[in-house]
Symmetry: C2
Subunit: 396 residues, 2 copies
């Protein structure tokens, strides 16, 4: 096995719940040593998120795979001093407090950089570290709403709709992971760390490439079009006998193949359907023709037929079906880990396959404070008696 | 201005339409030299996607900001030979062909690696380079359907719903950008490049952290819950006088503040609403009470009240409203560039703010083949007469 890409990189992870932990889980999968810093007693809020197995949160286990946990009561200046010493031995700090909290703890970027100019600090928040909205609290649905995504998700006759997973947090996490590794790469040349500021609202908005093109160049405010594509047709879900089938066609050649698969090759020459633009204009008629052709047959049968014509088509899988899917299994995305309390549990890892420095789930999530002693002795050289005293005084 | 993080990195970009181009746009923003390799005559399909300004596609301009363009007819072995020579002078190749196409062109990873062992090849596809579904074509909606996201997006009484932007492509693009920079970082140590394989289906599925926790640990297949959060209440959109207002509460302290803001502090002690779990059980009653309190007042008024109590609340912005938003403007996410044909146009850049090596939109999208001569003369030392001959013979 090759040395992991991020081996030797130490990450101090002050982050809680979702955006920060997802970011550092990706770094851990690539071999970074991630030390999660938690509040003594309670730990990360998400340790207490249902559902549980043997009292352990599935949400927490999945997001904190392969990390270490130490406890530090950062309201105590002795804990802050210990954290700063750890900064001197680390490469990256990740946090997703509300902007200003880190500074009030005495751990803003200028302070950390004074301790260790090579440190990279990544801050993830709803609206970023500065700007008119920086002080506002935000959860995922706020980022999806303020980033414009909800306004274009859903059906024309339905209210604006939230994507059914926390895309606001997760997109910001992906951008932060990208930013951290980019900063690590830059540090190879400059020898200097830097501060990375990621906002959930902007992360969501940056993805709206189709919607902003329609708005900026078409002069139209894009609305909700259900499962249709705003500019390509047919590209939608269609009613079949046992559910919905996805059929996605984005050019004329592919539409000619679909017409052939439907046994109606003349449709490709029908003046209503000659181009993508015309097909989009005549979308309701085309949808009716396709559903007539499907004629209540099962999804699997339609997918098999269209596969034969190289036309993108698929069922809509439930989460249970994806977890049990043969392709997902073959690709090794879901790994089982042995958790000391929850037992053997499945964890979804990062999905990028690297040929030489593979990322993989490296272990279970840590118990609260499981590595406090190990980290304080090996990294900071504290004696067991000193650690006992810190524990008695609730510093750790 | 500091040296950009990726300056000195040269990317050969064979990718088309969305996932690949979005990935390389992020690299260009960070200072990489991205050379887009296009088919002579027609170029990237997305050059022909509406809407247009002076004949130039807004979608294309936005996704190809700050890149160069050269034309190579890769069906001609002379063009393939030129491409291989460029690989010898480059760091990264990005492609999103259907798996197998690159190999048939004689440009698979083993060939590229033989030319330049330091090359990093990133392949983005619907289902990855191998595995049971690798041969299947896929567009964004297929990835959203097969990755499980559609099954949890939408209302309980609506069909499965596509997130209204191409999250399948864009998430894969973000993972690829992260993978490329991680591989660049690893190369600093190993001196070797590698092949990175990113699948849209797996990229989407890897984000389903809440849904997979519910499924794996709760033993329940998660369904559609509209804008509600599956495990926190109140966390939803609520009807106001002039639209919907988002209110998001995820713990008991915050709920107590909301009850106070509503002028009904006793709700925090109501046995139905004592915990997040109980509030989720009694969600319909709580939603009714909140909408009664809103009582048809405008969104802005409700947001202002809740802001005063530090409760996450917001309007749902349209894409036009985000584009015109003062916070987005202050943070500099949207930049204007001068395009030789489209004129001065807005472009949304990458959203991560780096303190020392800032990413920024570095220029407009290239015209088709705009840099063919420059690249072939400066990088490969071809003479103008040789280039003229290649042009006459339709190699470039």
């Amino acid at each position: 096995m090759a040395t992991p890409a991020l081996s030797g990189i130490r990450v101090l992870d002050l982050s809680r719940v979702l955006a920060g932990p997802f970011c550092t889980a990706l770094l851990a999968d690539m071999g970074a040593e991630v030390i999660k810093v938690e509040q003594p007693g309670r730990g990360d809020d998400s340790r207490h998120f249902a559902p549980f197995k043997n009292g352990e949160s599935g949400y927490f286990i999945s997001l904190n795979r392969g990390k270490k946990s130490i406890t530090l009561n950062l309201k105590d200046p002795r804990a802050v001093a210990l954290f700063k010493k750890l900064v001197g031995r680390s490469d990256v700090v990740v946090e997703n407090f509300k902007p200003g909290v880190l500074e009030r703890l005495g751990l803003g970027y200028p302070e950390l950089s004074r301790v260790n100019p090579r440190i990279i600090l990544a801050s993830i928040s709803g609206f970023g570290q500065w700007g008119p909205y920086a002080g506002r609290p935000a959860y995922d649905i706020v980022a999806q709403a303020m980033g414009g995504l909800m306004s274009v998700t859903g059906y024309p006759d339905s209210p604006p709709t939230r994507a059914g997973e926390s895309i606001g947090d997760l997109t910001a996490a992906l951008y932060a992971a990208w930013g951290i590794v980019t900063a690590l790469y830059a540090r190879e040349r400059t020898g200097m760390g830097q501060h990375i500021d990621v906002s959930m609202m902007e992360s969501v908005f940056s993805l709206l490439v189709t919607a902003t093109a329609i708005c900026n160049y078409g002069g139209v405010v894009p609305g909700r079009v259900g499962n249709r594509h705003p500019i390509s047709t047919p590209f939608d879900s269609f009613r079949a006998g046992d559910g919905y089938v996805i059929i996605a066609v984005a050019n004329d050649d592919m539409f000619a193949r679909l017409a052939e698969a439907m046994g109606r090759p003349e449709l490709a020459r029908d003046p209503r359907f000659l181009t993508d633009e015309l097909r989009t204009q005549h979308e309701p008629e085309l949808k009716r023709l396709i559903e007539e052709w499907i004629d209540g047959r099962p999804v699997a049968e339609i997918v098999a037929v269209l596969d034969g014509y190289s036309i993108p088509a698929s069922p809509i899988l439930s989460v249970a079906e994806v977890l049990a899917d043969e392709h997902v299994a073959a690709r090794g995305l879901v790994r089982e880990v042995d958790h000391p309390k929850a037992g053997r549990v499945p964890v979804v890892g990062q999905p990028v396959l690297f040929s030489h420095t593979p990322g993989r789930v490296r272990g279970p999530s840590p118990l609260l404070g499981e590595h406090t002693r190990e980290v304080l002795t090996t990294l900071l050289g504290l004696k067991e008696s000193q650690i006992d005293a810190l524990e008695r005084e609730r510093v750790i």
